[in-house]
């Protein structure tokens, strides 16, 4: 049904506004930090960039999963969903590493406005990735149980739409936080 | 220099602007089905307004003194002038062009809303990145490229909404969403420029006073660099958005004015509700 894709489309538009506000808050305070940690002196763009590649790659694998479903290739559907979950999980693992590193250096959400806006923005994005991982796991479970005969499935299409969105948000967040500070 | 002298003297008839205008007019005259009528008047006023924007004292102000003048130029070139040009193209010409292989392919590509939206909103954002804007102000050929880019991307932006061929247009509700989201993109940039501290565009902070009107601007009009930047940002934000809003009103008006596809295909239903005959006898 077109209904499902339409509501996911509007939902994503609504979510975009939510992230836009978090990004605007980050931008608003960018440059107002006079002492203490900032993006430029406490983040590592290379490591995060490498972990980001895993997330970007997962957008590609979920697209391949959809393509496999259209070709009624059920084995590859499961494989590509699994690959997406693994790539997304690696990204979250990377974010966990980054966060624990920062917290060890006593850079926390309450340290200054950089900490506040940084942890809020990346935290809400990470939360969305986790929700996506849960949905993908459900999808995988259903696929293993023999659901999704193909060639079309709204569940697969909607979840991959959401996953692309989460990915797209990270492109913007990464550019605003990391590229802006280091380029 | 007094203000009147400035208004008289600051005209710069740069050849590229005149050539660009002539090229537009020539290609318009070459359109199939060209006739002198209201539409061609609209198109040529669009070209005239473009020439005025590019050669008049407004251009001098925008390039040397005031960010806000630059922004007025920008809104005219990106939003107003392309709309006049598109509305000037006769429908018959567009219909014929759609049948030609190459022109048809180009027009179908133009009609794709996603790249058109990205181009229309993106050209605002990209050209107003402070570092790029600074470079453009110092580089003549980049400046020319910027102005032409404004007009062309504005043209492409409006195409899915006001394409001369009806078939190429978005449905009115989709067009409203298209315009509203563009308005959002434009507002956010305007907002950032308005509320960012003064000095976002350093070229306007201490302009070389080539025409000798700086003291008039700063002292008589009280336009400090900070105020100037605010006027610029707000011009993009409020009047810019009103143009998108007016355009979506125009789409709705066009929609309501066109005839309803008609009642064909809707069955007359006999059944329990035939008793509705007893309704509404008042």
């Amino acid at each position: 049904m077109a209904n499902n894709r339409m509501i996911v489309g509007f939902f994503i538009a609504s979510e975009s506004i939510f992230f836009l506000m978090l990004i605007l808050a980050y931008v608003n305070f960018h440059g107002s930090v006079t002492d203490g940690p900032t993006a430029a002196n406490s983040l590592n763009p290379v490591v995060t960039g490498i972990f980001s590649l895993f997330l970007f790659a997962s957008s590609f694998t979920i697209w391949l999963a959809g393509k496999s479903l259209r070709n009624k290739n059920h084995l590859m559907l499961k494989v590509w969903i699994l690959a997406t979950i693994v790539l997304g999980a690696v990204f979250i693992f990377g974010q966990g590493l980054e966060w624990s590193g920062l917290i060890e250096k006593n850079i926390t959400i309450s340290r200054n406005v950089f900490g506040t806006t940084f942890f809020t923005l990346t935290g809400f994005h990470g939360f969305h990735v986790c929700v996506g991982l849960i949905m993908l796991s459900l999808l995988l479970g259903l696929a293993l149980a023999g659901d999704f005969k193909g060639p079309k499935s709204d569940a697969v299409e909607c979840i991959s739409l959401y996953w692309h969105f989460v990915d797209g948000v990270w492109v913007v967040v990464f550019s605003v936080i990391y590229l802006w500070a280091f380029l | 220099m007094s203000v009147l002298n400035f208004l008289g003297a600051a005209w710069s008839f740069e050849p590229w602007a005149l050539i660009f205008a002539a090229a537009l007019l020539a290609s318009y005259a070459a359109l199939p089905g060209f006739r002198l009528n209201g539409r061609s008047l609209l198109f040529s006023s669009g070209v005239l307004l473009m020439v005025l924007t590019l050669v008049s004292p407004l251009d001098h102000l925008g390039r040397n003194y005031l960010f806000s003048a630059h922004m007025i130029q920008h809104i005219l070139l990106l939003l107003v002038i392309p709309l006049m040009l598109i509305s000037g193209i006769p429908e018959s010409a567009a219909d014929k062009a759609l049948r030609l292989p190459l022109a048809g392919a180009v027009m179908r590509f133009l009609g794709n809303p996603v790249p058109a939206w990205l181009l229309g909103v993106g050209s605002m954002w990209v050209w107003h990145m402070p570092s790029l804007h600074d470079i453009v102000m110092k580089n003549e050929s980049l400046y020319i490229a910027q102005q032409i880019c404004f007009v062309l991307s504005g043209f492409i932006f409006w195409w899915p909404v006001f394409a001369p061929a009806r078939r190429a247009r978005l449905s009115p509700l989709a067009a409203t969403l298209y315009l509203a989201s563009a308005c959002l993109g434009c507002s956010i940039l305007g907002m950032l420029i308005t509320f960012a501290g003064a000095g976002l565009y350093p070229a306007y902070a201490n302009p070389t006073d080539s025409a000798g009107i700086l003291s008039y601007i700063r002292n008589d009009l009280c336009i400090t660099p900070g105020v100037d930047q605010q006027i610029g940002g707000l011009t993009m934000w409020v009047p810019g958005c009103l143009i998108y809003l007016a355009a979506s009103m125009a789409t709705l008006a066009r929609w309501y004015a066109s005839p309803e596809p008609g009642p064909a295909g809707i069955p007359a239903v006999e059944g329990p509700l035939a008793k509705a005959d007893s309704y509404a006898r008042d």
Binding site: V33, S110 | A180, Q230, V238, L245, P263, Y279, D282
Partner: protein, 556 residues
């Protein structure tokens, strides 16, 4: 397409009613849009009584200068809870609830596009309200920072109690519910219409719900993000809105009003929709200028997004910014004025039947225009600087929200109550309710314009004995008591009519939209047969096949 017309040969399923489907579970577990709609209406009535009680306590405290009926702390809690309740738990959910009940009926659909999501929206709203009101039972009491919870007052160390946290959590939950109903409404309206019900023929109420729902979808996330930041500030020690730690209190104002101003239109646009349904039916004429009413709604929706800073003229954004926002705010008067002209033109030359719904609709036009005119006045920066944070503002927005939205809500209740319950509300009690409301409302709030111009500040628990202030406040308080009496009459009317009201029949008002083509209350399946839709007034076309609204629809 045609398979979407539900054709049920014999409707043997009993109608949904508390008596027939006894057992609370049949309601709690329901995903039927009519039951959910009715639950919305019942809960909003409860909150309306609570919010009204809070307002009466406020007015009693203000009845004479230096009164000590309430402590300052209690007073602050009461005016905060009154504003929050009335906006987020009365007007907004009422309009959503009426929409949930009527949208599928008006477009000839079986249910909403996503019935379970619909139930989720309702329960988020329900529990959000409970979360907010639970704060009264905590040790530190209810939130006491105003309905806009300006930072840094709402932040540590100025608010050490948990009130603002409950406030943000409750509104966060119900806000997510509102986004979900917005999404559901948009998809329902765009995809579930019966054949022939084109987007140019949908009833104006549906059109306005579409614009409102789009506003919900795009505007609520602004405040959701701001609530999240506020909660992070108070629970995890983040510093978004605390200037002492590098944050910005003005940012909260931008976020809050970026949501708050469109919210005003979320409250008023469906009310416009109700009025646009009631006035034609009781003037026995089609709406004058359907297209203008519809298009001006879109204009209002879009304009509303860009004018929030007029709530912040006193903040010091700079003269240029103030001037632009002043101009843009005044522009909203144009599409709103267009609507008023259309309603008046619809009544002009009509055979007006002043039944209670029409009385409220007519009064709506007058009261709302007063609120609109004071709105244009305070869109002007110098006037705003003089009267901001005074009782003039209180009077202004009560004329817009009570005189506007709530009057329309009363009109809608009297108009659709027969459809919701199968019984008419009493006209006698309805007229009592109407006149008590009009007298009480104007007595309470008109005089506050003068109090405001004379300098009485809002949000203070008492005031000095300045010349005339005491007597004017007493008049306002007496008006509030009359208004309270009118609500008692209203509730009495509802309770009495539920038992003994005149049976309504399918279409008691001889109305023309599809919801009147089914039984009252609407059958479980909504329609036995959806009438053919060949114009904007399907039931008119059905009754007068030789005089259809659209000439092409004539059946030969």
């Amino acid at each position: 397409m045609s398979s979407r017309i539900p054709i049920v040969p014999e409707n043997t399923i009993p109608l949904p009613s508390l008596k027939a489907n006894n057992g609370l579970l049949s309601w709690v577990a329901s995903v039927d849009h009519k039951q959910i709609g009715i639950m919305y209406l019942i809960i909003t009535l409860v909150y309306f009584l609570l919010g009204g009680l809070e307002a009466l306590l406020i007015r009693v405290q203000l009845a004479h200068p230096g009164n000590d009926f309430l402590t300052p702390e209690t007073y602050n809690q009461l005016f905060t809870m009154h504003g929050t309740t009335m906006i987020f738990f009365v007007v907004m959910p009422f309009l959503i609830g009426v929409g949930v009940y009527l949208l599928p009926l008006m477009i000839g659909a079986r249910d909403m596009a996503f019935p379970r999501l619909n139930a989720l929206s309702f329960w988020l709203f329900f529990f959000g309200g409970i979360l907010l009101y639970y704060s009264f039972f905590t040790q530190s009491g209810a939130p006491d920072v105003g309905w806009f919870a300006y930072a840094p007052l709402s932040e540590k160390p100025f608010s050490l109690n948990k009130g603002p946290t409950y406030w943000a959590l409750g509104l966060l939950a119900s806000g997510i519910g509102s986004v979900a109903s917005g999404l559901n409404n948009v998809v329902t309206i765009l995809t579930m219409r019966t054949p022939g019900m084109t987007m140019r023929r949908i009833p104006l109420f549906v059109w306005m719900m579409l614009v409102t729902s789009l506003l919900l979808v795009f505007v609520i996330p602004i405040i959701t993000a701001a609530f999240a930041m506020m909660l992070l500030d108070s629970l995890l020690g983040a510093t978004f809105f605390t200037p002492a730690h590098g944050g910005s209190a003005i940012l909260w104002q931008h976020f809050f009003w970026g949501f708050g101003h469109p919210e005003v239109y979320i409250l008023i646009l469906p009310a416009f929709g109700i009025i646009s349904e009631v006035i034609p039916v009781f003037s026995r004429k089609p709406i004058y200028g359907y297209e203008f009413v519809a298009a001006s709604t879109v204009a209002i929706g879009l304009l509303s997004l860009g004018v929030w800073a007029h709530h912040m003229f006193a903040v010091g954004l700079g003269n240029v910014a103030n001037a632009y926002f002043s101009l843009a705010s005044m522009l909203i008067a144009i599409p709103t004025g267009i609507k008023v002209l259309n309603w008046v033109a619809t009544m002009w030359g009509g055979r007006i039947n002043f039944a209670t719904p029409m009385l409220f609709a007519t009064a709506f036009i007058i009261e709302f225009v007063i609120g609109g005119l004071t709105g244009v006045a305070i869109a002007s920066v110098p006037i705003d600087w003089v009267v901001t944070d005074s009782y003039f503002i209180v009077a202004h927005f009560h004329y817009a929200i009570f005189g506007g939205s709530v009057f329309a809500i009363f009109a809608g209740v009297y108009y659709w109550f027969p459809k919701f319950t199968g019984r008419m509300l009493s006209e006698t009690l309805g007229k009592w309710h109407f006149w008590l409301t009009v007298i009480g409302f104007n007595m309470t709030f008109f005089i506050q314009h003068f109090l405001g111009v004379m300098g009485m500040p809002r949000r203070t628990y008492t005031y000095y004995d300045m010349p005339y202030w005491g007597s004017m406040n007493l008049i306002s308080t007496i008006g509030a008591m009359i208004l309270g009496l009118s609500v008692i009459v209203f509730v009495w009317n509802i309770l009495a009519s539920l038992r003994h009201g005149k049976p309504a029949g399918d279409n008691p008002w001889n109305a023309w939209t599809l919801e009147w083509a089914t039984t009252s209350p609407a059958a479980v399946e909504n329609f036995e047969l959806v009438p053919p839709v060949r114009g904007r007034r399907p039931l008119w076309d059905l009754a007068y096949p030789d005089m259809p609204d659209e000439p092409g629809a004539k059946i030969v």
